[in-house]
Every structure is written in C-alpha cells, then in structure tokens.
Amino acid sequence: MNLDGSAVLHGSPDRVWAALTDPEVLARTIPGCGSLQRVGDDEYRMDVTVGVGAIRGTYAGEVRLTDQQPPSSYVMHASGAGAPGNLRAKVAIELVPSDAGTTTLTYSADAVVGGPVAGVGQRMITGVAKRMAGQFFTAIDAELTGAAAAPAAPRPTSAAVSSTTAPSAAPTRAAPVPAGTPALQAPGAPAAVAADLRTLAVGAIGGAGLTLLGVVVGWLLGRRRD
C-alpha cells in the first residue's frame, strides 16, 4: 500500500527540521503519543494510545532512520504492533524551501499492513492515515507559529495546513535523549488535536492501524537531529 502526501509548514527547512526533531515537541504533537524512547543510534521506540470508545488500545512502534540528509531528507523504516494488527513501512521524507519562508514537506510511504486491521479496506486505511498525518502537521505548524496554546485551532484539512498567525517562536532546541533514559511523557496533546481524536471514530481496528501509519509518518519527522 502506498501513501503519499504533503504539507506546507511555516518555517525554513532548518526550523522545521529542528521542530520535528525535538522529542518534547513530538511527544505532544504526534496524535496519541504516550512515550518516546531512544533505544540506540537512530533507533527509537514509542507507545501510542489510539482510538476512542471501543477502539482503545496501546500500540508499540519502533523506528530506524537511514539516508539522512539534514535538513532536506530521510528514509524511515518503521514497524508497529498492537492488538488490532501490525504495520511495516518505509517512508521517504523531503523538506523543500517554499514561498515566504515556508517549507513544503512531502512524504511517500510504502506500507505493509497486517493482522485484522488489514481487512478494513485500503481507502479507509489511507484515509485515516492521511488524517493522522494532517493532525500531526497541524500540530507541528502550531508549534512553529506559536499557535499551540490557542484553545481552538482550526480543524486541519487532509494534509495541507496553513496558519493565520505569523511565525514568531524561535526554533526549539532538541535535547539529546540518551539511550536508556526514561521516556518522555507526553503532557497531553493540544486541545484541537484531542478534539479531533475524539471524533476520529473509524472502527476498532481501522482507527488503531491507521493511527500507527500516521504516527510512522510523524515519527520519521520527529527524530532528533544528529
């Protein structure tokens, strides 16, 4: 299964890169992220709690990065598993400078979805994954523009996001996360994202699996800069 998309983020590639690689930022911008942990060079583990209502479940994901060309591209190899199924994906990400100091991020994922979640239909998986990615990018963009504290950010559209607030915050410096240190606990997703999550009712297995795929995309972007 292939999943492609893009987002326009308010910041230069360097700023975007920095934001995306700050574990604290990631912990609060990846939808449903419970913890992030570095387990080795360019290898990370995360737990994601997904789903609403009957769909609730915790999923463990692992990510390995290759072909890093900061601040312009990576390839991420990810896998995740939870009760509703499992996922293996290879995602190529590019950051390209765009108009007015923005960065266009494009991703191209080649994913293999297994287990019960694989049975829910391709369009549903990609639909949810795109939405998850959209939520992530919206949250990231809010970090970049300093709008994260706003109580009611506009609902993100699929993968293209925009903001009416001018960029103001300086790039957040990522703190190194040594292997073996306690995982960062997510302080709770921004309100807008949480609200979206509540409405993200895609059926027990579907939602969880798709979140994983969305998370994979997010996680790729969330690696700390070397």
Binding site: P116, G121, G127, R131, S158, A201, G206
Partner: protein
C-alpha cells in the same frame, strides 16, 4: 395401502410456521453481526474519478470500507457468465465492486461495514464518489441506434443474436394466401419478492471454514461460486438458504456481488457480517425482465391455419449478461405454444442498455412469447372474421401427435419435444369454464349497465423441469422419523409439504413422521436450483427414487426378521407387514435400528441391534459386502429432456367508459401439469401466477427516464395488484401424465403468469375495439388509445358497430 397422500389436497405444513412469525428469514439471522451497506452509482453510465472516504471516517461505529482496489485474485475479475452460449457473442459482466466504470444506476461502487446498518448507511452517505458522466443508452430504440455504446468494445450494443428456424420461412410466407405483419411491445417489470436479497456470513478462523446464509434459489452453486471467487476449498464452505420470502427468478442469479463481498468482509474482519437488501436497492440493483419489442409476420390460409411464422424480437438485457441468453431462448422456443407451425423462424437480438440486468422472472420470456403467438391468433381471427377460439382450435397440435417435435433447441440445450398433452381438451374445458359462447349476451348485458365488456383467451405450452439433475436423500431414524433432503431451495412453494407427501406415499409412513430439508449444502451437496418450474419434477422424482431405495432395503431387512419373502411384504402406516397376514409385522423404526449393527447400547432401541441381542449368522459379516449401515438411500433424477406442461386462460373484462378503469370480472384457468401431487398447492401456484400476470398486464412497468434513472423505484410508485385487483380465479384441471419421469408430473410454478398479458390484451381489445399492441395498459393509456383517431380499430369491432376499420 392406506398411506396414500400423493394427489391429496394436504394443507401446507410450513404455513403454521411462516404465517405466525416463526419463519427464519435472512434478516432474522446474526443479530450481532456487523452490517454492510453499499454506495451505489447514481449515474447510468459514468467513469469513476475518485472515491473520497474522508467524511465517513468520523462516523462512530464504522469498521471497514471496501472498493475495487481491495479485491484480489478472482474477486478482481469480472463476475461469471453463468450460462455461456455460442450465440452470446459479446458477453459482459460487472465486477463485485465497480472497476472504474459504472453501467447502470445502482451498480455497487463501495461497500461499508459498520456496527449496525444505521451506522453503515450514515457512513455510506458521507463517502463522495467523483464521476465523469458518459452517454447513456436507455431503451431498445436508443440501443439499436447505437450512437453511444454501453460497453465501448461492443459498439452496436448487441450482446447476442439468437436464431432458430425450422425451415425456409421466406418462400413459405410468399406462398401463403394471407400474411399479416405487425409490431408489439412489452414493458419491463420485475420479480419484486416481498423479501429482497440478503447474505450473512460467518468465518470460523480456527476451523478455516465459512458459513453463508443467502436468500437464494441456488445454494449449491452459490457455494461453488464463493469457493471459486474467494479461493477456498469447497469443503470449507457451506451455504444455506433459510426461509426465503419469495424468489420468482431474481434469486436464481448468482453470485450476486453481495454474495461474494459479505463473505469476503467476514473473512477479512473475522466477524459476522450481514447485508439485507432494501427495497430501493432491489429495484435498482437486482434484476428486471420482460422488456421486448416484437416484429411478427405470419402467413395463413383461408381457414386461419398458420403456414409460416417469422418473428424478430429485440430484447433489452440491461447492462450485463450474467445469466446468458436464457430469456431470449425461452421466448424464441416457447413462442410456438400448442400450435402446429409448419415453418418458423425466430431471431432475438439481445441488446445492452445502461439499466439493471435482465434475468428470468417467473415465466422467463414465456409471457412475451405467448403474447406474440396468441395475439397473432387473435389477428388472424379478426382478419378472417372467425371466432378466436376456432382459429386456435384449427391450429392446435392434436392429442395423437405426441411426442411432438417442434424442431427447436430449448434453454437446456435439448430438443423441444412435447412429451404429452391434450390441447383441444384444454380449449374445450376453457370455453365451457368461461362461457365463451355466451360472450355476446354478456356484452349486451354489460352494455345495459354502461360497461364495455370483452373476452379474451390465451394458451401456452411451458417447458418445465429441465435438468441436468436433482438428488434426494431419505433416511429412517430409529425413532421412526424419516428425514428427507434435497439440494434445491424453497421460496414458499410448499416443498416441505409435497416432498413429504411423495415420500410418505412411496414409503408407506405417516406424513407427520417425515421431515423435509431443502437448500442446505450441509445436508445435500449436489443440486442445480429452483427455477423453470422444476422442483416438483426434479426433486420430487429424486426423493421418490430415494424413498424407493429405502423401501427396498427395509423390506430386505424385515424379510430376514419376519422370515418372509420381501415380495410378500408391504409398508403401511410405518409398519412392515406380510400382505394379507395381519400381526406378522415389524415397525419400520425397528428395521432402521436393525439396519445398523451396534456394539454399544445407548438406549433401549439400540439394544436390539447389539451383538448379543439375538442369534446371528456367524458365516456372514454383520454388514454384508456392498451394503452399508443405516436405513437410508440417496438417488438422483436426471431427465432426458424437459417435460411440457400446458394450459389455457380466459379473461372477461369490463371497461368503464367514464374512467377507463379495467375490471377483470372473470378469470378462468385450465391447467395441465400432468399428475398432481397436491391440487391445493397447484391451485395456489396458479393463483399467485395469475396475480403476477394481472400485474404485468395492467400495472407493472419500470419507468426509466432517458438518463437511466428509475423513476418508480418504490412501492409508492411501482404499481402492483393488491387483493382488490386480483380477480377471483376459476380453475379446471386436466391431467396428461408425463411419460418422462417416474411420477408422471410436470412443473406448475410459473404457468399462472404466462398468458396474463395475452389474454387480457385480447379481452380489452375485444371490449374497446381498438388494437392493443403494447402491454401493460393503464386506464389513461386506454383512454388515449380510444380517443386516438389514428388508432387501429379491430375488424370485429367494425363489424359489430358498422364502422369500417
């Protein structure tokens, strides 16, 4: 023998269950199942540009969404052409879910699965499918013009050109003293069973087995289709037709997309999934029938005897041809009816249109054929000034001409050879039953009341009970219960009653001991299906043969016990006894116990069959070579060809010249289906058929607009006759047994519907004196016809009124 139930008007034993709400229909199954709903094409012809599911994702309870991209292996291929034929030169079928193009309104594009149907529907309506509309082909005229094509690789829209002839028709017509040429049309209608289609599937992942319930007329073949399409071993799939609320033909088509997609979803999700068709779905995405245009040229002599008949039919087969050209073949071959047609040529062109598929509906092309032939008889009579009954009589095949070979090839690939019949007998009974000779006095009496009265008639011959085979299994249990199973399915015909009557009669047991099961592949794996008025002929004979096998074994075992010759034994009321020697007997249930030599006595009855129960013959094994334990037998009936039932209908109608309301005041039926198993059930079949015949003649049509939108896809707008519109039916029976099968029976299921449009058109024409060449006819259409100065007047009317035609 006192246990003689064959031929008795035994009350239907299934009715108590069915009419008190204890039936188990598809939607009664799987209360906790996930529900499927479909996004169906709103366009008659369009390219699918994209499917956006985003809006559906917020629906709480959504579980899965499937499109064509989710179909793999054989599922991604077109649905099967079930009945290929060399003359079906351009067969086309759809996909389980549309693959890039939709060819009729109602074609499934997306399947949604959710926690219940409400949620599934909510999600389905939030899915946005982008379409690019393509030129639409609706109606036979547009299809023939072929300015647009339904399938781009079939530019003339012709799926098949079916052609049969029995001689050189053109010289025969040229040599005929008289000829007539005319055109007729028949509208589309549909089966509209009370219960739509429905599928429930449950996948047992541990057992790797699938159980599917489907409201089908062909459970064994649905099973085979599911196994093939989902790449499962046949032994891992079981298909059961539960109680089915009517079929009338539409449920013989298979596999319906839903019959494949629901099991596919059940397997992928590991959950029970169910879909029950709603009424709009049934109208726009199941199947229709009947729509034809007929161009007829007939040659005849001064006495009204036909010398040659040339018929060209244009048949609207809808968007696809999954059921082949069965309807065209049936029209072509059954058209000739009970008549001697010295030279006959028929061509049926089967055309694609952007409408839902056309597959057999009770009668399956015969009502149209009957309409062509019988209206031809009426026109000959009118042209010659002869009585319509007399013209028919002169053309009938006589009772001494059987077997009568029409030199045509039937829908089963076998010759159209009428096995038996007495057509002059039918006509005599009919004219007496309806009071044909009193037509003029009836007309005068009605005229005194301000009504226009007319009489009409139509005769038919119906090929019934086509092969290739059906099977039956009969087993006597130690309890005395007799289990009967056959693979074909039931849709309310009364199979539980008639098959029990047959087995009870053959075996000599009380009917209440007999339990009948149909349409369950767990019980009987080999079957063809319920269609073409074949259940009584095929499974009736199969269960009779199986019962005879059981009886033979029972007598053999009992003869040992009673120390008698098997030939001296009989079975009556479940007791095997020596003929003429009361008291020397053994219950059949005991014979059943003894038929299965046992080591273990699990109950009192079983003790009798254990190894120390009595003196045995140490020189023989307990189960003889070639024998088997148990008192059961399985047998099959496979006919050499179809058996041909026949009948004659007459209608008396009164037309109100103020409202042009058409009132059917008398409807007479003479019916010959060979030996009758249960006259009450046969009459019930006739009544139901007449109701659908009246519907087809006066009410039912599928109102497609030029864009291929079905404008009357609901019971608010699609008229059907209610009890108030169905006439009282008077019935007379004639029995000419079939020489082709052991029970001498012929099919009865479809007969009642066949002559309806022909007989009523004849009667209405007789009442108003205007040629009726298109059916159905509504009061408004009749009003327009009578007011139309250019409308053709009948010669009979001109003679009656002195107005020249």
């Amino acid at each position: 023998m006192t246990t003689k139930l064959f031929g008795e008007p035994v009350r239907r034993r299934e009715d108590a269950r069915l009419i008190t709400g204890r039936g188990r229909y598809l939607d009664d199954i799987g209360a906790g199942a996930l529900a499927a709903a479909f996004v169906r094409s709103p366009h008659a012809h369009a390219r699918i540009l994209d499917v956006d599911v985003e809006g559906a994702l917020d629906v709480e309870g959504l579980v899965a969404i499937y499109t064509y991209e989710d179909l793999t292996g054989p599922m991604a291929e077109p649905l099967p052409v079930l009945i290929p034929h060399p003359q079906l030169h351009a067969p086309r079928t759809g996909y389980p879910l549309a693959n890039g193009v939709v060819n009729h309104v109602g074609e499934p594009v997306v399947m949604v699965v959710a926690t219940d149907r409400y949620v599934a529907e909510d999600a389905a309506e939030r899915i946005v499918v982008g379409y690019e509309e393509l030129p639409v082909v609706v109606g036979l005229d547009v299809a023939r013009e072929a300015r647009a094509a339904v399938h781009e690789d079939v530019p003339d829209n012709v799926a098949a050109r079916h052609h049969q002839e029995t001689g050189d028709v053109e010289p025969a017509l040229a040599a005929s003293p008289h000829t007539l040429t005319f055109t007729q049309t028949i509208e589309r209608s549909a089966c509209t069973p009370l219960e739509g289609k429905g599928v429930h599937a449950r996948w047992d992942a541990d057992d790797a087995s699938l159980r599917v319930y489907s409201s089908t007329q062909a459970s064994t073949s649905v099973r085979a289709a599911i196994a093939a399409k989902l790449e499962l071993s046949l032994d891992r799939v079981e298909v059961i037709a539960p109680d089915v609320g009517g079929g009338f033909g539409v449920k013989i088509v298979h596999p319906w997309p839903e019959e494949l997609l629901v099991p596919m979803a059940a397997i992928r999700l590991g959950r029970e999934v169910k879909w029950a068709e709603d009424r709009r779905e049934h109208f726009i995405s199941s199947a229709h029938e009947r729509g034809q245009r007929q161009e007829i040229t007939v040659g005849y002599d001064d006495d009204g005897r036909i010398t040659a008949l040339d018929v060209h039919v244009w048949h609207d087969n809808g968007a696809y041809t999954p059921y082949g050209i069965i309807v065209p073949i049936v029209t072509a071959t059954q058209l000739v009816g009970p008549y001697v047609i010295p030279v006959y040529r028929v061509v049926v062109e089967s055309l694609y249109t952007n409408t839902v598929i056309v597959t057999p509906y009770r009668g399956a092309g015969r009502p149209q054929g009957c309409f062509a032939m019988e209206r031809t008889m009426d026109r000959i009579a009118d042209a010659l000034g002869l009585d319509r009954a007399e013209v028919r009589r002169r053309n009938l095949i006589q009772a001494d001409q059987f077997p009568y070979d029409q030199h045509l090839t039937f829908q089963d690939g076998r010759p159209v050879v009428y096995d038996s019949g007495d057509y002059p007998g039918l006509l005599d009974k009919l004219t007496a039953l309806v009071g044909w000779e009193q037509a003029e006095s009836m007309r005068a009496e009605a005229a005194g009341r301000g009504k226009l009265l007319g009489v009409g008639m139509a005769l038919y011959v119906e090929g019934t009970g086509p092969g290739p085979y059906e099977g039956g299994h009969v087993q006597v249990l130690g309890s005395g219960k007799v289990l009967v199973s056959t693979g074909l399915t039931s849709q309310g015909q009364g199979h539980e009653t008639v098959f029990a009557q047959i087995v009870a009669s053959e075996l000599g047991v009380p009917m209440e001991d007999v339990e009948v099961h149909t349409g369950d592949t767990r019980r009987f794996g080999y079957a063809v299906g319920t269609f073409a008025s074949r259940a009584a002929v095929m499974s009736g004979n199969a269960v009779a043969l199986a019962a005879r096998g059981v009886k033979e074994k029972a007598l053999r075992i009992a003869a040992d016990v009673l120390e008698a010759d098997p030939g001296d034994l009989e079975i009556d009321e479940g007791l095997v006894q020596v003929k003429g020697t009361p008291g020397t007997s053994i219950p059949l249930r005991t014979v059943a116990v003894l038929s299965n030599p046992l080591r273990y006595a699990f109950d009192e009855a079983a003790k009798q069959a254990t190894q120390f129960a009595g003196p045995g013959d140490d020189s023989k094994p307990p189960v003889a070579a070639g024998d088997a334990p148990g008192l059961e037998y399985r047998d099959y009936y496979s006919p050499i060809r179809s058996t041909f039932a026949s009948g004659a209908h007459a209608a008396v109608v009164e037309v109100d010249p103020q409202t042009w309301e058409i009132d059917v005041v008398t409807y007479a039926v003479v019916h010959d289906c060979g030996n009758v198993v249960n006259p009450m059930i046969v009459e019930g079949q006739v009544h139901g058929g007449v109701a659908q015949g009246v519907g087809g003649a006066l009410y039912e049509r599928m109102a497609y607009d030029a864009d291929g939108q079905l404008q009357n896809a609901s019971f608010m707008d699609f008229l059907m006759p209610y009890a108030s519109e169905v006439p009282d039916v008077v019935i007379d029976h004639q029995q000419t047994p079939s020489p082709l099968n052991p029970l001498g029976i012929k099919g009865a299921g479809e007969a009642g519907v066949i002559p309806g449009s022909a007989a009523l058109a004849s009667a209405i024409e007789d009442a108003v004196g205007r040629r009726v060449a298109a059916m159905p006819i509504s009061p408004s259409e009749l009003y327009d016809l009578v007011r139309d100065e250019t409308a053709e007047r009948t010669a009979a009317s001109a003679r009656r009124t002195g107005v020249r035609a």
